[in-house]
Amino acid sequence: MAEGHTEPALGVETVVVTDSGQWAVELVVLYRDGVVRRRIDTYPTKARAEIAARMIKRGAERETRGPVNG
């Protein structure tokens, strides 16, 4: 697995999975030589987990959204 600066990530995805009655958000980062999968946090409802998954993905890939001058 590549380490931070030496190997740029190619892509990122978040997934929501069930875990003991909770909903967990996992972050999946794709590298040229492999994949890193990290569990970030768990949430009591699927809806909250899905919101968190969206925000975590946007932060991780710095997706361009929102007003530039906001």
Binding site: M1, A2, E3, G4, H5, T6, E7, P8, A9, G11, V12, L27, V29, Y31, V36, R38, R39, I40, D41, I51, A52, M55, I56, R58, G59, A60, E61, R62, E63, T64, R65, G66, P67, V68, N69, G70
Partner: protein
């Protein structure tokens, strides 16, 4: 060897546009150009207006440090009109200036800076998932309370100033409202709430006093490992994560610093003057350059327009400053590339050099010799810079270090207000005069120079901390502080140069704070893309 030009726009997350063009060779930035990308022209707006127009116009220069703009505008008029300042008024001004900075510290950290710590390029590091858990935008376990609680200090500002931002309650001779006992006690309660629930509980994991015992870099490292609470606090984690991903290794900048200082000892500044200013300051002014400290002297400040979209070349003192914009397309043919002027300071023995403004500059000034008993005397960051050098991490840590320090100052000033005494002395409105007022906005040194003739503003010049930091090359082709800080930065992914964002944002550049800014592109473009202001 591979070389590529990257054009990145915008880098600032607050407002306005900071465009950066860098040249990368073998994965390292070898040259940089920062471009303030929008013309503002506040100085032109103010010419010919009533002398007090600055109290209304200047706070609108910036939406997040409008209180700082008001503070220095008011002091510039106090000096020009030779006012008398009741001690209560000085205390209230101190409290509100500090409250604005206390707001900015967590808001900037979580909403603007820390999001980049969740960048996918760090996924290979052991603490990455913890960084995402804490700092992910809106849903991070630290982001949410940090941003929400950042609003509390400016509630104190609103109690004294009627509103925040864009208040105009500081006027020549004092402040416009006399607080009641209820106002003061409410302010104390709000400040304590912020301290208990964010500063100590979330950020430090210990008492304010325990953190302020740290005097050396070794003290800080020992503090991190002292107990579980501190180790797992946001501050403890931030230090550990920075050292893990290498934010302590780049972004150092010019290594020379300027602080105009702020907050006055009330008994020492009842009659504001330029000459009496340095000695009355609590947060000290000073220059640290080439390893030596110098007193700050406003007469040594110049603004160079050689590479800025203004008529002419060379540098002028702000009292004689000119703001005569030209068409950027014409300017580019003359080698100009930014709407920001280049502020420079004539350091004895070094000449006119670029200086970094901001919290790290304040911390270096605070570590200088000959502090009076009422002044900030803090060796921590001089020790840190001497031992590990300036960097993105050190600049950030300097900013965060001011939260416990300023909390204690505000608490003390609230206790000193004498509700039976005056908060305002009506001034004589002199038809002629010159004034200089300055402060330390959260982002650094901020100052106004006003020339009054025939009861009107003849000349008004504002130099913002962002101008000090993002200013372009000067007549001697010396790069500006952020340009210098970017050079040497490693770039792992040219498609997502998160490192550039770390460096630029560690200066907390607020382009709306730049009086001259515009939007444009210069130079050869081999690739062009946008990294976003807001997530």
């Amino acid at each position: 060897m591979t070389a590529v030009d990257l054009f990145v726009s915008p880098l600032g997350r607050v407002e306005g546009d900071l465009d950066v063009r860098v040249t990368i060779e073998d994965g390292v930035v070898t040259s940089a150009w920062t471009e303030a990308a929008m013309f503002r022209g506040f100085e032109i707006i103010l010419q010919g207006k009533d002398p007090q127009a600055g109290l209304i116009v200047c706070p609108r220069i910036c939406g997040i440090c409008g209180g700082s703009h008001l503070y220095k505008s008011a002091y510039a008029l106090d000096v020009a009109w030779k006012t008398h300042m009741p001690p209560n008024a000085t205390l209230v001004r101190n409290i509100c200036q500090a409250a604005e900075t206390l707001q900015s510290i967590p808001r900037y950290f979580y909403a603007l800076f820390a999001i980049d710590l969740t960048n996918k390029n760090y996924a290979g590091f052991p603490n990455y998932d913890e960084a995402v858990r804490r700092f992910a935008p809106y849903v991070g376990t630290s982001y949410q309370p940090g941003v929400v609680l950042s609003a509390k200090p400016v509630e104190i500002y609103a109690i004294f100033g009627g509103q925040w931002p864009h208040s105009s309650f500081m006027v020549p001779g004092g402040v416009m409202g006399a607080p009641t006992l209820s106002d003061v006690t409410r302010s104390i309660a709000i400040l304590e709430h912020w301290k208990d629930n964010w500063l100590e509980k979330q950020w430090l994991g210990c008492s304010v006093d325990r953190w302020l015992e740290n005097k050396t870099w070794e003290d800080v490292l020992a503090w991190v490992n002292e107990n579980e609470s501190q180790y797992n606090s946001d501050c403890g984690f931030f230090i550990r994560y920075c050292m893990e991903v290498g934010l302590d290794k780049y972004g150092g900048g010019v290594g020379n610093y300027l602080a105009t200082g702020t907050y006055f000892e009330p008994s020492l500044y009842e009659n504001p003057t330029i000459d009496g200013r340095n000695a009355a300051l609590i947060g000290r002014a000073g220059i640290y350059a080439d390893g030596k400290w110098f007193d700050f002297d406003q007469s040594r400040v110049r603004e160079d327009v050689t590479h800025s979209f203004y008529e002419g070349t060379g540098a002028l003192h702000p009292f004689d400053g000119e703001t005569r914009p030209i068409d950027p397309e014409v300017g580019r043919k003359q080698g100009k590339y930014s709407w920001a002027k280049s502020p420079r300071y004539d350091v004895p023995g070094l000449g006119h050099v670029p200086l970094e403004a901001g919290p790290l500059a304040r911390r270096m000034a605070a570590g200088g010799p000959n502090a009076a008993s009422h002044q900030d005397n803090d060796p921590l960051f001089v020790d840190i810079v001497n031992k590990i050098g300036p960097s993105v991490m050190v600049r950030q840590l300097a900013r965060m270090h001011e939260a416990p320090k300023y909390y204690k100052w505000v608490r003390s000033w609230l206790d000193q207000i004498d509700l039976h005494e005056s908060f305002y002395t009506k001034p004589i409105e002199h038809a002629e005069g010159r004034g200089f007022g300055a402060t330390e906005a959260a982002r650094g040194a901020l100052a106004d120079w006003i020339v009054i003739e025939d009861n009107k503003i003849k000349n008004y010049q504002v130099i913002t901390p962002t101008a000090w930091n993002i200013g372009p090359r000067d007549g001697a082709a010396a790069v500006g502080p952020i340009e210098k800080a970017l050079i040497g930065s490693p770039i792992a992914d040219q498609e997502d140069p998160v490192e550039l964002g770390h460096v630029a944002r560690s200066f907390d550049s607020c382009l709306v704070c730049t009086v001259h800014a515009y939007d444009g592109k210069t130079g050869r473009e081999l690739s062009k893309f946008v990294i976003n202001g807001m997530v």
